[in-house]
């Protein structure tokens, strides 16, 4: 199972970014700043203010990823999927929503917040903004190397007619009692395109062999190492 890494975008404690603009690997622990609309979109976006924080960071990373690949604009819907791995999902939004429920026994329950207590809703936000009509799902599991979404994304490409998949991670900082030392708050997505097209720019080939991932034939240890290697070996478009 192979795909070409066409774009990378992120928001992490290191800030917002995309692969073509830096060679510094951005996945790091620290305090995550939730992005404003202006940091992501240059024009007014009426929906952005209604989004929960998880959706804001996920949507930001997807946007920077597509922008990095030069594929932000679209005319017709595209058969591209989204797979996002998340340890904590929308737990933070759940907590905020519960705070609207408890005080008056449900009288003040927020319909807007509730809509985002399903973590896949931000995938819908991304899909409608960028015309992504493939499969979309959040996956939750133990993921110490942060590579599960990439492996699942490659499988999605191999097993379906989707031509590209945005695969990545998304997590807010958790409640203190659940936090782990290796948490990476933020979101980072890679755009995986079916087939290998280095002439159109990008980073290199990602392959799944058995349980192992390989980037340009080198075994991938974790997501940070993969992103660092991508940034070192990016390819400019030939046209």
């Amino acid at each position: 199972m192979k795909a070409w890494i066409k774009g990378i975008g992120w928001i992490t404690p290191a800030g917002c970014g995309q692969g073509q603009q830096t060679r510094v690997q951005p996945l790091q622990p620290g305090v995550l700043q939730i992005p404003t609309r202006k940091q992501i979109f240059s024009t007014i976006d009426r929906r952005f203010g209604r989004l929960d924080d998880l959706s804001r960071i996920g949507l930001a990373a997807v946007t920077f990823c597509l922008r990095d690949a030069g594929l932000e604009d679209w005319q017709q819907k595209r058969p591209w999927g989204i797979v996002a791995a998340s340890r904590y999902g929308c737990l933070q939004t759940d907590l905020e929503d519960l705070e609207t429920l408890i005080p008056q026994q449900g009288k003040l329950a927020s319909p807007n917040l509730f809509a985002y207590t399903l973590p896949n809703c931000f995938l819908g936000e991304a899909a409608l903004r960028f015309g992504l009509s493939g499969n979309s799902m959040i996956i939750n599991r133990q993921d110490p190397d942060y590579l599960t979404a990439l492996k699942t994304g490659l499988e999605e490409l191999a097993w379906s007619a989707q031509t590209a998949v945005l695969a990545g991670i998304v997590d807010l900082a958790p409640a203190a009692e659940l936090a782990r030392p290796d948490d990476l708050p933020g979101s980072l997505f890679l755009l995986l395109e079916k087939g290998s097209r280095p002439e159109s720019g990008g980073y290199g080939e990602l392959e799944l062999r058995g349980e192992d991932l390989f980037f340009n034939t080198e075994r991938v240890v974790n997501l940070s190492q993969l992103v660092a290697n991508c940034l070192k070996s990016r390819v400019s478009p030939a046209f």
């Binding site: 989204i82 449900g106 939750n140």
Partner: protein
């Protein structure tokens, strides 16, 4: 591509325990939708839901704990090396809610990875597993992924475990969205007013043919087609033209290598909300043109079981193919014009090998499975 067999199934629903009780309840046209006892519904637009009786949690446990035990006992032994896929939208939401109401720290069990470990332990599985969270299409997509793992030869057997329970957290949210029906829901009825929530636990063991034979386990049905697609339209409302559902069904038909005319019946999502049901009928009428097959929905009996809904409907579909009949759609007294003649409160005979199951959910997601009956 290897053939994908449903080898074993177990379920616990508001209609009782086990696929046979579920099937008989549906054939009898029973509804488990009743006034909720779990919490006060005074401030909500509905007081109704389809709850499972006798699901008392242990001290500091979840209602998912006794559900897991019942399902594990029902299903029995499974092959070693089986992969695990969980499909749940909110997991141990009752523990989440209880701990916050008491001002206590959140327990680890609110994380899906902890729930997966618990399920793996109970079934004796070594797989790390994965939860698939795709709103109301979660278990449909989990079954599709399980089928793909087997079809590609990456796994010999996959356990798909789907469960969601009733909670005030979710109930209040649907109430705030004005999506709950104040009366028992009426899927595909012209006078439908919304959905009722339900709860369920479902387990399906998928295997390849060789494994099924080695286990001397007769096939209950085959999963031959699957597909998923996003509307790319709205986060909480379906695309009125049904574009995502059509794409998902077309992908499933293509995977199954059959024509839409070979579909004998449809088990639709049929939530009872105005827009979902209208969207589904639009999509099905476009897909099947003049030959819309008999269709039904089970949420008038069991409520909307969220992440477990799709898996539950597959259990029903497998039995429908075996007996060549579909249960009636409870609550659909006066069907929508575009479904008239194809949906009924009475059981319908069907004739054919294939049944289409579909689900759609928040986030614009749609998913479809095609089951093939197995001649006994």
């Amino acid at each position: 591509m290897k053939s994908v067999v449903i080898s074993k199934m177990a379920c616990v629903t508001a209609l009782g325990e086990g696929p046979q009780n579920l099937w008989q309840g549906l054939l009898d046209g029973r509804s488990a939708i009743a006034p909720l006892q779990h919490f006060s519904t005074e401030n909500y637009v509905s007081s109704l839901a389809a709850g499972i009786k006798d699901l008392d949690p242990p001290r500091d446990g979840s209602r998912l704990d006794p559900l897991l035990e019942k399902l594990a006992v029902q299903l029995g032994a499974i092959p070693s090396g089986t992969r695990l896929l969980l499909a749940s939208t909110k997991g141990e939401i009752d523990r989440f809610e209880a701990s916050r109401r008491k001002g206590e720290p959140l327990p680890e069990s609110v994380l899906f990875e902890t729930l997966i470990q618990k399920i793996a332990r109970r079934f004796g599985l070594s797989d790390d597993g994965m939860n698939i969270n795709a709103a109301c299409a979660s278990s449909t997509i989990a079954l599709a992924r399980g089928a793909a793992l087997i079809a590609s030869g990456q796994a010999e057997s996959v356990l798909v475990y789907a469960a969601d329970i009733l909670s005030e957290f979710v109930f209040s949210g649907f109430s705030a969205l004005q999506a709950l029906s104040p009366v028992a829901c009426k899927p595909f009825d012209q006078h439908r007013q919304g959905l009722n929530l339900g709860e369920a636990g479902v387990v399906l063991l998928l295997t390849n043919e060789e494994m099924a034979q080695r286990q001397q386990q007769p096939a209950l049905a085959r999963i031959v087609g699957w597909g998923a697609a996003n509307d790319a339209h709205h986060v909480t409302a379906p695309a009125r033209d049904g574009c995502g559902l059509i794409l998902a069904c077309q992908a499933a038909l293509q995977k199954a290598e059959i024509d839409s005319g070979e579909i004998a019946a449809i088990n639709a999502h049929g939530t009872g909300t105005l827009y979902n049901d209208a969207m589904e009928l639009t999509a099905f009428n476009q897909l099947f043109a003049e030959s819309l097959p008999p269709l039904h929905g089970i949420k008038g009996s069991l409520g909307h079981c969220l992440g477990a809904a799709g898996a539950l409907e597959v259990v029903v579909a497998a039995q429908a193919l075996q007996e060549q009949r579909i249960p009636g759609t409870v609550g659909c007294e006066d069907p929508e014009e575009t479904a008239r003649g194809q949906v009924s409160t009475a059981c319908q005979q069907i004739a054919g090998d294939y049944l289409l199951c579909t689900n759609s959910g928040f986030g614009g997601i749609n998913a479809a499975l095609i089951l093939q009956g197995v001649k006994s």
